[in-house]
Symmetry: C2
Subunit: 612 residues, 2 copies
């Protein structure tokens, strides 16, 4: 809320005024007014994405982070990082296009099949005679009797949170309403007459959150939305977040609160898109890796952060949405599928489920690329699946890359380096402002193909196409004059090294999993690439840079965010939940780092492959 | 916590200093420091029980309530009501003995039988091998496997609140601990090795709360405690509390919070008495009338306060103790038995259960006297019980009576008026300061017997023993010189009228219930008198004043607080819960006020009976 001590900040060119308290950064102030600036670090002064230009007014002077990230010229021209800048008077501020998150590309589910809904929660319309002095049955009893008479349900009950809403609700609707009943025995809420039951499916990634609103009866998507995981500000990777909780007495509550808040914001957005009300959200399914679900549930994580890395809970959970402070029907339940081991969580189970890896009659590899990359292999002869997890880092999500960014408007998604030129495609076709994951893979493959980097990833400094930047050799994709933000879009030596680390980890994971199951690479009949980044990837380039094994292109199948599709399946179908629980039990987990050959395979995987 | 702005108040003769903020009454300030002053009104300036004498220092001047209750002389001598007085400097204050709650008599369960424990929660000692890199089962899975191996339990689960405590708890105990498991399937908490499971049984009365701590395995009482219902400050009777909630948007939360806070205080006291820890409190059973349980659970009450007076919920409830903010084991459950109708609640079911009214082979009347008096009749020929509820008011609990008080030290509990003198007994044998319930009945019966009041309850103003006080004719039981507070202890015309209203209501209820079941009074073979007040009552005098029907004394049985005994039974026994649910279904409720003869019977019941 705006207080008298707040300064007024006029944001251009969008023409919005926001209030900014003196102790709140402009990044935060904008966010509080619903304007999200780009950020990979969550406002920690690390990523340099939230650039703004202060046109008029007084602010705090540039801090250490800004002096490191911005050039002297940029600072002189009024460029600042919104997360490091605090108002000291009313301000006028320009937000460059690439700092504004608009039109972020939603992760589309590829060619995964649909399943028949078989939901736990059903809607029953009821019309009842109101109480009289001659019939003083308690309200809950009256509804239970009504359900028994109308649809034959016996012995329904309700949680106190639901009981608190029933008496006013039935009177507001004049005793003509919809009862949402879970598993034919528990009333989870009361809606207006004729309202349909819907559910909330979430893939809670370390970096990104993808969410869907789904009609429980038809299985149809009602709306989709995504957001960065707000815990990023407390650590980009899983371990640093767990350590944060360990070091701060209140850390668990704060990190749980952050992500719950974002889930509620997503839910609000989805409800508004779909035009339905929160009391119709009667069930949810949230998948994520073990650390993400532990942090969401505010479970103890100390034992998860130190060897032997033990989860507090690994079985499937059914938790009250109210316990997670979600704004749903009062009795809604959140289903969290079981996990497989250490950090291989419910999201991996969801991916295996949605890709039908447990039911394939071929040798199939499933790869879900994210901050952690999970790999599973299915061999029809074996009664179980085998899986592994590699710490691939967030490079393919645009983090740790100088001009990396999320897959939003202005992100370079395709690159071709010809002898004379660079051809590229951006999301939204506008001027380029950075590189998203698929562009990063293309750049790496193309630089190698063009001989501008060698097998070890070193730039050819002798080439006139390789420039010399602040951090050593670099390749300019888009010169400042043509870019969308007035700065060169480049790829540096450090960026190439980051990409090599990521591909090294994934390569090692794939190799070890194949060896552990005595599978030769050529035996693999299908490779399913799941994950947000995987769906826009140029597979030929991914093979060329050595990210994936050299198999015929036709054997690769890009299925998009399979984890969220798995979450949707479990949201709408009891049978899918039963299958997920079977998958978790029937999957062998391989801890990669205990394999003696891991380091060697990792190092080998960092090299670019010999040209064919 | 004491703040710098607080004044210091020295309380004499107990020699304790307490801090008092300028906006906190001395009554509140004392309470916050653990010193409870007597009060029937909860600190609302109505009852005049929290008298203090300000010996030194500045306070706010006497307010309207004080000027009404205290005489000019008393005010001159520095007497004040603690609930109306606020410090304006450091103070020295004297607390007269009768204002201090000490030695309040606990309600003893009379000759009710004991039942065999058959508890829902059991304790299992476990010693497990800690996780290693070769065995990274999640903690909950490890415990579940341990329980399966040790005692054959399969598929145990836990609530997130419990999961949050398990991982640190098992590590603190070096994997040697006690698991408390409910219904052989749900872990409700972890305790130290060898700890026993205990439970919390509560009779949540409109005026008083009685609570026990019970060993679940033996059924033995570990500790007992009582407290006034703190909601009294929001209305002495049920309807005014419900109206308070209706009129105040936040009322439901506040009233629930008040009673939950007192329950936690009682629990702390019980734990300290018994020398056990809160994580051993693994189950609870709370009984109360429908309004009390609705307010505790913060259920909607608007429909309960207006015709046709419908409960939101009437069935048995199992609620998380954490939902009621009780400090117990994290997964403890509170069982609230079903109610019978309108205002006839779980406490009445508990009383019927503990008195075995449902299993008697005689014609039995069960009477539970309280602010509302519940009556049940058992006729062996009939397949059901019949019950009714009368609004008898709090007179027998000492409220609405000029010198009425709770059954605490200095309360007159027995009275005999001889031709020349008054003989009396006080609780603790100290000087008299007021009258508790049994004393009130004695006084009424003895005044009538001595001819000092007539059949209509009017004082004989011509008698020299009848004085003339501020409120008309009165009888002095103890002159100021001999009392414990330097004031006359009297019974006034208004007091006699209050007693008549109470007995009129109970009499009408009994009469109508007998008629409704076609039972002549002489057919009644046993009258069970339950309730705190009933256990110390002189039955002969109760018959003489017309409170009870004229039956041989031997047919009366005083069983004390049967409701809390019923709560203890349901706490320790599944069979008792099953019986309670059968009782609730098999009891016909009679709404007294719709009987055409009610008013006439009420009026007749107010009269004192013809002398035999």
């Amino acid at each position: 809320m705006a207080k008298s001590a707040d300064f007024q900040v006029r944001l251009q060119p969008i023409g919005k005024r926001v209030a900014a308290a003196p102790d709140v950064s402009l990044f935060e102030a904008a966010r509080e007014s619903g304007i999200d600036l780009a950020s990979a670090c969550g406002g920690e002064g690390n990523c340099g994405q939230c650039r703004i230009v202060v046109l008029a007014g007084e602010t705090t002077p540039p801090n250490f982070d800004e002096k490191f990230i911005l050039t002297e010229l940029e600072l002189k021209q009024g460029e600042r990082l919104a997360c490091c800048t605090y108002a000291r008077s009313d301000l006028t501020v320009n937000i460059p296009r690439d700092s504004l998150i608009t039109g972020q590309r939603l992760q589309i589910a590829g060619d995964l099949r649909q399943i028949a809904p078989d939901p736990l929660v059903r809607a029953y319309p009821l019309q009842l005679a109101p109480p009289t002095l001659a019939d003083v049955r308690p309200d809950l009893t009256r509804i239970a009797d009504g359900l028994a008479e109308a649809v034959g349900l016996r012995g329904v009950f309700a949680d106190p949170a639901v009981m608190r809403t029933i008496s006013p609700a039935v009177r507001q609707t004049d005793w003509r309403f919809t009862v949402f009943v879970r598993d034919d025995r528990e009333i989870v809420g009361i809606g207006e007459w004729g309202k349909r039951p819907s559910g909330f499916a979430v893939d809670l990634g370390t970096t990104k959150i993808a969410a869907y609103l789904v009609d429980l009866e038809t299985g149809a998507d009602l709306a989709a939305a995504g957001a960065p995981n707000p815990q990023i500000g407390y650590g980009e990777d899983v371990i640093s977040r767990l350590n944060h909780v360990h070091r701060h007495p209140d850390g668990g509550r704060v990190l749980a609160g952050k992500v719950r808040e974002t889930l509620n914001e997503l839910l609000t957005e989805l409800l508004s898109q779909a035009g339905i009300t929160s009391d119709q959200v009667v069930e949810a399914c949230i998948v994520g890796n073990t650390a993400m679900t532990h942090l969401l549930l505010q479970l103890p994580v100390r034992q998860l952060a130190t060897a032997p890395y033990v989860a507090a809970v690994g079985t499937a959970l059914q938790v009250r949405a109210a316990d997670l402070e979600l704004t749903t029907a009062p009795g809604a339940t959140v289903y969290i599928p079981p996990c497989i081991g250490g950090f291989v969580g419910a999201d991996h189970v969801a991916m295996i489920l949605a890709c039908d890896l447990d039911q394939h009659d071929k040798v199939v590899l499933g790869v879900d690329i994210g901050t952690n990359t999970e790999i599973a292999i299915r061999k029809p002869g074996m009664s179980f699946l085998t899986s592994a997890s590699c710490a691939s880092g967030p490079a393919f999500e645009g983090a740790h890359i100088s001009d990396g960014m999320r897959a939003a408007t202005g992100a370079i998604e395709k690159v071709r380096i010809t002898d004379a030129d660079v051809e590229l495609t951006t999301i939204g076709d506008g001027p380029a402002v950075g590189l998203c994951g698929s562009g990063i893979v293309d750049v790496a493959a193309e630089l190698y193909h063009a001989g501008l980097i060698n097998q070890r990833g070193r730039f050819d400094k002798t080439s006139e196409r390789v420039g010399n930047g602040r951090f050593g050799p670099e390749f300019c994709l888009v010169p400042a004059g043509k870019s969308g933000n007035g700065r060169d879009v480049v790829i540096t030596q450090k960026d190439v090294n980051e990409i090599q680390l990521a591909k090294g980890a994934i390569h090692a994971g794939l190799q070890i999993l194949l060896e552990a199951t005595h599978t030769a690479p050529e035996e693999v009949e299908e490779v399913i690439i799941a994950g947000a980044f995987g769906s826009f990837l140029n597979v030929r380039n991914a093979i060329a840079m050595g990210l994936f094994p050299e198999l015929p292109r036709a054997q690769y199948r890009q299925v998009g965010n399979a984890a969220v599709v798995g979450a949707k399946w479990m949201l709408i179908s009891r049978a899918a939940r039963a299958r997920a629980e079977k998958i978790a039990k029937g999957t062998n987990y391989n801890e990669l780092t205990i394999y003696p050959k891991f380091s060697r395979k990792f190092a080998l995987g960092m090299l670019f492959p010999e040209p064919p």
